[in-house]
Symmetry: C2
Subunit: 422 residues, 2 copies
């Protein structure tokens, strides 16, 4: 019996040249990461990041849809209404969520204080928080954070890394991604880069935990918002660690225009599309880093469902497999357990006949026409040693496909979450 | 600040007198549990149960909605069309799921062989399987199972327990529940009892893993089907262990009529309602046992959402909290972590304002008007020592409520599922 490997739809190629760095990869920005003392037990740990544009920047944001949304999300939504921003300050350790009106007042005060320190309009300062829910933002600590982070601003690699490190909570690595691309029409080279954090309470819905993307391309606010919404939808919203959408999800993009050239907007569709591809590539890279660093994760898992009757069928089937505890523990156990994948597809609500389903695990065909086929278990074990495991399912019912990024479910997740008060 | 405990809606009182036993609590049945050898590594473990009515019984069933449904589910749906059955044989170790046409033929053959051994019509024999997916049902083992289980039939307590034990997989305890009630109108005492199994791949949708309910009440087939569908909806469908709906969920009810009296049907609404309450109470008791024995569970958890704007809001909010890995690991860690509960409510899709939400954990008020209130952490730790932990959430948006039964998420779940090939 000849069983060809399922060939999932191609991934988007890099639209330029990957570069090292995050929020300082693009020109026109400074950043810092400092220890203000939000965590009493580890006061020297970096916990406050500041990203600041040299001048005024176009700004856009997408946010959590959680009804228990945090105070900084409320404030940023207001302050992004004008399409511009100068800076964003992010703290880790305290989420400023479920803190009521006083929490919103604290978030506003943070922005106002930072605006004063930077000499800009209060409406042009954004705020973001991550950490323990239900604890008031300690304003004395925040004042110290503002003072230290403004004083520490710089534009080199160390500052880029410090900012990305300061927003980490249960993350085990800082997460940055950047790309440089040619705008052939304008004859200018632009850079898009960013940082993010996220490891648990991850099932973004229109945004992710915390992410800041910067670019030196001169993108108009409305166009930046549209590109960011599309990029977040196609990247962060494809990640599931545990299915728990956070209260604080925030993804902000700032465009300095420092690289020059005429404005990029809906009026320049070719240049806007090129920028959109670069932004999407950076968001996709950051999103995968979140899945790979999922709490307790040892493997990055890509779940591609193809051959679905509708886009929605592909989406729910892929997300159901990616969020199945039984599938995720099987991968932790290096078990090519297609039965659990089939059961997850079957309960997902997607429409298909079990007689037309095919499944590959780690490139090994394990199910064809709804029936198991023999495979080399030793070879499967070897492939589970790779850092990424691909699950590809063909429902044999149409042409729609969808990819979800997730990770395995291990003792590490239990260790982290049976202890951590978040 | 005086904070009264939230008072969730009252639970249904026992509609009669609880009695010890399962499928043999009611008269007119025999049962057995034998070791046929479905598990090569433990050939002496009980793995085949037979429940047999002395005469013809009314029969009803509800089944998984998983599209990858198992072969016995397909066959039982066919054979229940006539509303009658004589017996059901259940094996553990091999699920006979994802086995295609040969699997369906094997399920039919099992029923036919058992019918021959019992001297009844093939259409009156039901089959059920649970265990590893994708492995053909070994028919030589099944033949031995039929022979041994028919020879071993009996009606005492040991047989009742043996049948309940033979259907266990990762269950740590056998699960039985029974009640005796007075049908005042007919002047007859009836008994309803049952057994079930289930510990993982649990998020029943219109049925549960495997359950067999028997009664000596003379219930007409259509009325039995209606009562069973309602009872399963109100009990098994309120249980979530891991959110993975099984391929083999089967719940069958058999009514022998052995206790006498005129037929109970839609034409005797008062008597039918009394029977329905007894059946619902047994199903509820069995459902809680599944949640309490969830894989790796150390605590039974009751999640009641009240004050919701609609029934659907109450349902999705309750189920979202009950299936949240972060909430379940917090309970494993004895952490009264209302922030994770609030975040789960917020992402559930239910409509509410965070300013009106109240939460109690283990009877301790922890959130009022969307804001945390101080509580005694030592007292909370003490209450987490109890075998059951209640989470009560009032959305403050209406009058609908919904209860979901679940369990905590521990290292035990990972141990079981990173190893077990199911």
């Amino acid at each position: 019996m000849v069983c060809n490997k399922l060939i999932p739809p191609e991934e988007t190629a890099c639209p330029g040249e990957p570069v090292v760095g995050g929020v300082l990869a693009a020109s026109g920005f400074k950043a810092s990461g400092v220890a203000a003392g939000f965590r009493a037990a580890t006061p020297d740990r970096l916990d406050t990041a500041l990203v600041c544009c040299d001048g005024d920047a176009s700004a856009a944001g997408v946010f959590t849809r959680n009804r228990f949304c945090a105070a900084p999300v409320v404030v940023d939504r207001e302050r992004l209404a004008n399409g511009h921003a100068r800076a964003i300050i992010l703290n880790s350790g305290v989420a400023n969520a479920a803190t009521g009106e006083p929490g919103i007042a604290n978030a506003r005060q943070t922005g106002d204080d930072l605006a004063k320190a930077l000499g800009c309009d209060a409406d042009d300062v954004l705020v973001a928080s991550t950490g323990v829910i239900g604890v008031p933002l300690p304003m004395d600590v925040m004042e110290r954070g503002i003072r230290l982070s403004v004083a520490a601003l710089g534009d080199d690699a160390a500052h880029d890394e410090a900012a990305a490190t300061a927003i980490m909570t249960t993350d085990t690595v800082s997460k940055r991604c950047a790309v440089r691309y040619e705008d052939a029409e304008a004859g200018v080279t632009y850079t898009v880069g960013g940082m993010c954090k996220g490891a648990g309470m991850i099932a973004p819905n229109m945004a992710t935990m915390l992410a800041v993307i910067t670019t030196d391309a001169p993108v108009a606010p409305a166009a930046l918002q549209a590109c960011l919404a599309r990029a977040a939808q196609g990247s962060f919203n494809h990640v599931i660690v545990d299915g728990d959408t956070s209260t604080n999800d925030t993804c902000v993009a700032l465009a300095s225009g420092a690289a020059g050239g005429a404005e990029i907007s809906e009026a320049t569709p070719g240049r806007l599309a090129a920028f959109g591809r670069a932004l999407a590539w950076v968001c996709d890279g950051l999103a995968r880093k979140i899945a790979a660093d999922g709490e307790g994760a040892t493997r990055l898992v890509r779940v591609c469902v193809m051959g679905a009757a509708t886009d929605e069928d592909a989406r729910v089937a892929s997300r159901t497999v990616a969020s199945s505890p039984l599938v995720k523990t099987a991968i932790a156990g290096h078990d090519a357990n297609w039965g659990r994948i089939a059961a997850a597809l079957g309960r997902s609500g997607a429409s298909f006949d079990q007689e037309t389903v095919a499944i590959d695990i780690a490139g090994i065909p394990v199910l064809r026409a709804g029936l198991p086929i023999p495979f080399d278990e030793d070879e499967a074990l070897r492939r589970f040693e790779e850092p990424q495991v691909d699950i590809v399912c063909d429902l044999g019912s149409g042409t729609s496909s969808y990819v979800t990024w997730t990770c395995d479910l291990t003792h590490g997740y239990i260790d982290i979450n049976a202890d951590y008060r978040s």
